[in-house]
């Protein structure tokens, strides 16, 4: 599955009510490390159907960024059953990102 773009409107449905764990990638167009991370997120989304990968643009969705206390991007937050269970900040290799799910 491809990475799903999430906004305030579909956040609840796509993330909080998801029956699979969700990797939420907070990013922005002006952020170089975010762009470097994007192919990793794409690959995880393509290759794993046991999880969902979504992307949130913090400039368009500043309320979500504020609500989840994102202070630095890229920031990947893992949600399980509607709750945050883990997060990482900065450009990380794929193994680290998938490691957040354990």
């Amino acid at each position: 599955m491809a990475v799903i773009k999430v906004t305030q409107e579909n956040f609840e449905n796509e993330v909080l009510k998801s029956d699979k764990p969700v990797l939420v990638d907070f990013n922005a167009d002006w952020c170089g490390p975010c762009k470097m991370l994007a192919p990793t997120m794409d690959a995880i989304a393509d290759e794993r159907d046991d999880i969902k990968v979504v992307s949130i643009n913090i400039d368009d969705e500043d309320e979500l960024a504020e609500k989840y206390e994102v202070f630095s991007i890229p920031c990947v937050v893992v949600f399980k059953n509607g709750e945050e269970v883990n997060r990482s900040v900065g450009l990380r290799p794929r193994a680290d990102i998938e490691g957040l799910l354990r």
């Binding site: 170089g32 960024a65 994102v70 202070f71 630095s72 920031c75 900065g90 450009l91």
Partner: protein, 303 residues
């Protein structure tokens, strides 16, 4: 497989070296610990690189990477942890094994220097940041502190003064190196407060940074409420792993001149990790060209 040239670090210096090595028809392997591009991927806009007046750090890095790949350089994403000099053969160790090459170019650049206080790592992304232009926007109308006396610290404080409600600039000394103009501009801002001769001694946080403890030279201690702390205390070269084959100065920079030669024949250094005055893209790229050309000459003379 044995490579003619092994480059450590896929920053601007390392990737330029790879281009020059390939154009001289040498086989080239680039080892990179993180991702290609090096520091510059954090820059939103580069405006001082000749011929490319407006380019993002990401585009700069990606174009350089594609150019090196297209010429046939190979990239492996692994960290180099050691170099062994066996004369004609150099053995570069990684956590999972080793690579053999005829010549090695160390282009490992530099990394941010940390304050080195408790909970600093844990609070990155929860209030602690090393890049004001990257993370400043998250602190709109909040109170933040900048730590450091570098020119970057002054620039960061000025940048943040436009965004944040209040900015403290905290510096161990009472003098700032260079950038007098920036200092005057800072002093003219009414939402900037300078705490000089002062050190940050503690980070107070529950889930995120709430305040910092600041200790002045005269012994007074105060707690300053901040949501963000921007650390700008300089950068450190990444040469520690290679001290067996190259000389380092007291700050850890590789003691090599413009010729990029080291005390070990066949081992060269290029870029920000070398002792030099100007640490910029254009000088990193220049080093890459010089080091690769020297490596090619070294290999050809041996052959």
């Amino acid at each position: 497989m044995r490579y003619d040239i092994l480059v450590i670090g896929a920053g601007p210096a390392g990737m330029t070296a790879a281009i020059y090595g390939r154009r001289a028809n040498k086989t080239v392997l680039v080892l990179e610990a993180a991702s290609y591009g090096g520091q510059i991927i954090n820059a939103h806009k580069i405006e001082n690189y000749p011929v490319a007046p407006h380019i993002s750090g990401f585009d700069f890095a990606t174009k350089l990477y594609e150019q090196a790949k297209e010429l046939g350089a190979e990239f492996v994403f692994e960290k180099a942890v050691s170099i062994e000099d066996k004369g004609a053969d150099k053995i570069v160790g990684t956590p999972s094994g080793s690579y053999e090459a005829g010549a090695v170019i160390i282009a490992t650049g530099s990394d941010k220097r940390k304050l080195g206080i408790d909970r600093e790592d844990e609070l990155v992304g929860r209030g602690v940041s090393y890049c004001a232009t990257c993370d400043g926007a998250f602190f709109r109308k909040k109170t933040v502190a900048v730590a450091g006396g570098t020119r970057t610290a002054l620039e960061d404080a000025l940048y943040l003064a436009d965004i944040a409600e209040k900015v403290y600039l905290i510096h161990r000394l009472d003098k700032f190196r260079g950038a007098e103009a920036d200092l005057e501009r800072l002093k003219a801002r009414d939402n900037v407060e300078l705490l000089l001769n002062s050190e940050i001694t503690k980070l107070n946080a529950d889930k995120r940074l709430e305040s910092i403890e600041v200790k002045a030279k005269d012994g007074t201690v105060q707690t300053v409420e901040v949501s963000g702390l921007f650390v700008a205390v300089g950068r450190v070269p990444e040469n520690q792993n290679f001290a067996a084959v190259i000389d380092l100065d007291d700050k850890g920079y590789a003691n090599a001149k413009e010729d990029c030669l080291t005390r070990t024949a066949g081992i060269f250094v290029a870029g920000d990790n070398r002792v030099k005055e100007v640490r910029q893209l254009v000088t990193a790229a220049a080093d890459g060209a010089v080091a690769a050309t020297a490596a090619v000459k070294y290999l050809n003379e041996k052959a």
